[in-house]
Amino acid sequence: MLLNFVIIPGLSYGSQLALGALGVTFVYAVLRFANFAHGELMSFGAMITILFTWFFQSQNIGLGILPTALIALPFGILATIVLGLLSDKFVFKYYRKQKSVPVVLAMVSIGVMFVVNAIIRIIVGTETIKFSDGQKFIMKAKQFKAMTGLNEGLALKSSQVITILITILLLTFTFWFLQKTKTGKSMRAFSDNEDLALLSGINPDRVVFITWLIVGTLACVAGTLYGLDKSYKPIIYLNLVLPVFASAIVGGIGSPFGAVVGGYVIAFSEIMVTYAYKKFFKYLLPESLEPSSLVQLLSTDYKFAVSFTILVIVLLIRPSGIFRGKVL
């Protein structure tokens, strides 16, 4: 019961947030500013993926039961990386060389956000787009009932499974990269102490380049997965930026592990607080005590407020986040 409506959506939504927050954290740790344009980066990646999906669909190329978006994803990632690098070259680099204060860079990222937002809207408009195809459910509620003999169904959407699998893959790769490879180690050194890293011969341009590679990949995958799971709507991503930031900060901004944990914390608390527990209580309590209302802690409308309440509480009690951040 809980599994169906709390844990699985929580896991998939949490994975999307975690990937987004990881991207924000990378920018924050290496480039040292809060990137408000991250949501638009996600949106842009998803948009390119959609365009390629349409192209493949028109050519009748598909993956059978898996959504076509999976083949289009690499192209989306490539485009997002290019966008990130372009924005860095034409915009952010100047301020980095000037050693501007973080607030100015945050303002600049708002400018980038506006521009990317406009490009997306000019290309695809503001309509909701559904682009998932292939088999929708891996396991339908009825099949599950028949299989296990329980009287509550369990439905498993394929997009959710794909989300969780891809997230595990990407996270493993990212952490392996950071901990084991030389480039990853140099990135960590750079984010820890820039001057010392420069002295020991680390090329800053290379580090920045690699960062945008990772950020572009993460943003595009997160955006596409979110679009697959719900449906693609360009304006939604602006609202998604806030939970993403919340997860990054809750986990401890600058700490990748913290960002991932923060993503899941935010996602689960949003879903758990707004979930209607009526059915759940029905199984636990005897008939006479059965609650009459939906037993919701808060109505679903406040989903959004939940993540921020958590953010504020965390900032008050433990300003550096759950896992003390600042270093990759």
């Binding site: 809060a34 100015v104 809207r121 000019i122 408009g125 953010l311």
Partner: protein, 456 residues
């Protein structure tokens, strides 16, 4: 107040823009833009006071605007007696219980010595208190929302003239800002930006969903106006006489009495619309000038100097014995209150309150672009930014349509690219705003009219 050459140029640009639009697109359009420009300028001054004077970032503009709008509703709407009858007592009880709860928490904090015990006791009391309050509160609100849901379904307001709401809106927004400031000021600037952005979203979502208070997404329409209605004007003697006097030369040239009457009627209908908008413009202009005057006075006062000192070097200001946390809180509240005034004015102008219309892109980021473009730290710059950016925001659409038509004129009229571009005209304004912000930050980081450094 003496203006230098720069500032005179800025003012004359602003004035000539409106005259230009007045001649090209009609005075009515020009006045609509002017009204919104003035309101934007007031918002911009609010942000400018906290950011430009003291360097306190405030990304919660949207939330404070919404609070101002709520004030406009609560002040001017007639009270709904039925709703008070069915739900008033329940709300009263939950309010009293809330106060009791706060007192209880206060006492526990004082009486219980051990720190871990303190947390536990407080947690338990708050939990139980909230469950009890929730019971009364939900009952009451459900009843209130049932009262005539198509027309009312909320408590209504105090039935006062809507002009009072401008002040009340300031207080509402200031109150919310006080709470936010208590919690969040002291965070680093970029954290503060995110937190205020998030809290403003919370404020708006509360307004959207607490229907007993603000009617939520059902919107409140038909708010009273501080200026006469067009329909009343058209029937009043003095107004008709005034219109005739203004257009006497034009009317005298027409000899046929029937056509004369027709022209006359059209003139009166047009004239009444323009007259109402002029009245609004006058009212708003007075508010803007008053705020501008005081903002300037404050900036050159010792208090303003202290604020600049805190902004430029927090550590040394602290060493001089200035209470930085307190001053930051004060200026955050003042800035937010001015934004709240603008919010109430915005709702007054529209005559309706739509909580779902408050979006961060439109009401937070654009205002910030105005501040940055105009020149942070300079009040005239803030006004100028408000005027120019809002003007561009409105006038970009006709301009891009024109440009696209021009560049694609060689193509076939049914060309897919051309049609698509024409469809996406409204989105070019975002592109322009982003480009303007980026260019200004790059080549003129202090804004078009930079802050004057006074050595006094």
């Amino acid at each position: 107040m003496r203006f230098d050459k720069y500032e005179w140029t800025a003012i004359s640009i602003m004035v000539s823009l409106f005259i230009f639009v007045g001649f090209i697109q009609g005075w009515s359009v020009s006045l609509v833009i002017l009204n919104m420009c003035i309101i934007s300028a007031i918002m911009t001054m609010g942000v400018n006071i906290s950011w430009g004077y003291a360097g306190v970032i405030n990304f919660g503009v949207m939330g404070f605007l919404a609070m101002g709008g709520l004030a406009a509703v609560l002040v001017s709407y007639p009270p709904i007696k039925e709703a008070w009858q069915v739900g008033g007592s329940g709300l009263g009880i939950s309010f009293i219980l809330m106060i009791l709860l706060v007192i209880a928490v206060f006492f526990i904090t004082k009486l219980v010595e051990k720190k871990s015990h303190k947390y536990w006791f407080n947690g338990l009391v708050i939990l139980f208190g909230l469950i009890i309050i929730r019971y009364f509160f939900l009952n009451a609100t459900a009843k209130i929302e049932e009262v005539d849901p198509a027309l009312a379904g909320f408590l209504g307001g105090a039935n006062l003239p809507i002009i009072f709401s401008w002040i009340v809106g300031g207080f509402f927004a200031g109150g919310v800002a006080f709470v936010i400031g208590k919690v969040a000021l002291g965070l680093r600037s970029d954290y503060l930006a995110i937190v205020t952005l998030g809290i403003s979203e919370i404020v708006v979502s509360v307004l959207k969903h607490e229907e007993w208070l603000s009617r939520g997404v059902k919107n409140v329409i038909g708010l009273k106006r501080p200026v006469p209605y067009e329909i009343n004007l058209q029937n009043s003697e003095w107004f008709i006489n005034m219109v005739t006097w203004f257009n006497s030369s034009k009317l005298n040239n027409i000899i046929d009495p029937d056509t004369k009457q027709e022209v006359m009627n059209n003139l009166i209908i047009d004239g009444s619309g323009i007259f109402v908008k002029l009245n609004y413009a006058l009212l708003f202009f007075i508010v803007m000038i008053v705020i501008y005057y005081f903002a300037n006075k404050a900036q050159i006062s010792p208090w303003g100097r202290m604020m600049r000192a805190i902004r430029d070097n927090e550590v040394s200001a602290n060493a001089m014995g200035k209470d930085i946390v307190k001053q930051h809180l004060i200026i955050f509240v003042i800035g937010a209150a001015i934004v709240g005034v603008a919010g109430a004015m915005l709702v007054t102008l529209d005559g309706l309150f739509t909580p779902s219309g408050y979006r961060p892109l439109r009401f937070t980021f654009i205002i910030w672009i105005m501040v940055i473009v105009g020149g942070s730290g300079n009040n005239l710059g803030a006004i100028f930014g408000g005027f120019v950016i809002w003007f561009a925001w409105i006038e970009v659409a006709p301009l891009t349509t024109f440009l696209i038509e021009m560049f694609t004129s060689g193509m076939d009229p049914q060309n897919a690219i051309r049609l698509h571009l024409l469809d996406s005209v409204p989105y070019f304004r975002y592109l322009l705003m982003g480009m303007v912000l980026l260019l200004i930050l790059r080549y003129r980081p202090k804004g078009i009219i930079p802050e004057k450094v006074r050595h006094s």
